[in-house]
Symmetry: C2
Subunit: 196 residues, 2 copies
């Protein structure tokens, strides 16, 4: 642990999710060795993102303009909104590459304990969008957690009668082994069984 | 995956050891959310390190001056050199906090296959230091791998008769359970058993 600059960088790196003190040290050594190839480009890319990154005013996705690329994309269907908790969930949906409509990022889940109400979650904005964008289907792609499902129920209450409301199917994940699945998933999969 | 700036940053982050594409995305989202607290300071710290970090001309440690803090520290013993493969190993030794002498970082291990000979490893510089710094003991703290031990033997050959040569003890690690240890470690520990 030689110098203050290095220690400072290690401390900051260790605050990233997924990195602890040990892996932060490894990463910093790697960076120092690849100064031209990685350290400088990474520092520049961070500075760039620090300046340009912003939340889409429409859907809450993170991009580099006030209206994100997905909202600005004319080729995407306009009648469907997929509601997700988080930008990471939106990115996961996009990687799956099957949904071609619009998104709405809540920014979390309702939580009385943490004082997170509908206002904090851009739920009023979602209700507005359903009317103003002539939405016909709202897909609630919230996490299958207690908080996620509570939030889904609240949103369903708000929008009832205005649009078709759907949620992601629950069941055995592709490649999943029954032996490793929890009872809740197995019983959900059994209840939703299909003829073959 | 909205914009090029973000994707570029994610790609670069994914090249760090210990981060894959998924954890790089998580880290970047975290950075965008903590722009003032983490993203900007991290970018600045990287730029700082990119400018100031350099290898110590004497021992090969990484620091911010031509002679590192450890080599410049007058309170450290001058008669002993601890030889390590890598700066990360030096840092690990320093965390243990028991060695108070000087270090010598080889920068790798001998490898005929990869064309790494004594010159590439600053072994000649080590031989020089043993004479010029009036070293009495060289501790070979190389990894207990085949390459590490080959390198240790080569260095021992070079320095034979000039100094006392030692290596780290091998045995059961503190907190280690026999059941989880390999046979090599157990037999080394048995051969080096001590009276109690």
């Amino acid at each position: 642990m030689s110098s203050n600059d290095l220690e400072n960088l290690i401390d900051l790196m260790a605050r990233l999710p997924g990195l602890g003190p040990r892996s932060a040290r490894r990463a910093v050594l790697h960076l120092v060795r690849k100064r031209a190839l990685l350290l400088t480009p990474l520092s520049d890319a961070m500075q760039q993102v620090a300046v340009t990154a912003r939340e889409c005013l429409n859907c809450g996705n993170i991009g580099t303009s006030d209206i994100c690329d997905l909202c600005a994309d004319d080729t995407r269907a306009t009648g469907e909104i997929c509601v997700v908790e988080d930008v990471a969930d939106l990115w996961a949906m996009e990687r799956a590459g099957v949904f071609k409509g619009r998104y709405h990022v809540l920014g979390g889940t309702l939580s009385a304990l943490d004082g997170i109400g509908p206002e904090e979650l851009s739920i009023p904005r979602l209700v507005d969008r359903v009317t103003s964008e002539a939405i016909t289907e709202v897909i609630l792609a919230l996490n299958a957690t207690v908080d996620g499902q509570t939030t889904a129920h609240y949103i369903a209450d708000q929008l009832e009668g205005q649009v078709r409301l759907t949620s992601l199917a629950q069941g055995v994940p592709i490649g999943g082994e029954l032996d490793y699945l929890d009872e809740g998933t197995i019983s959900a999969a059994l209840r939703a069984r299909k003829s073959i």
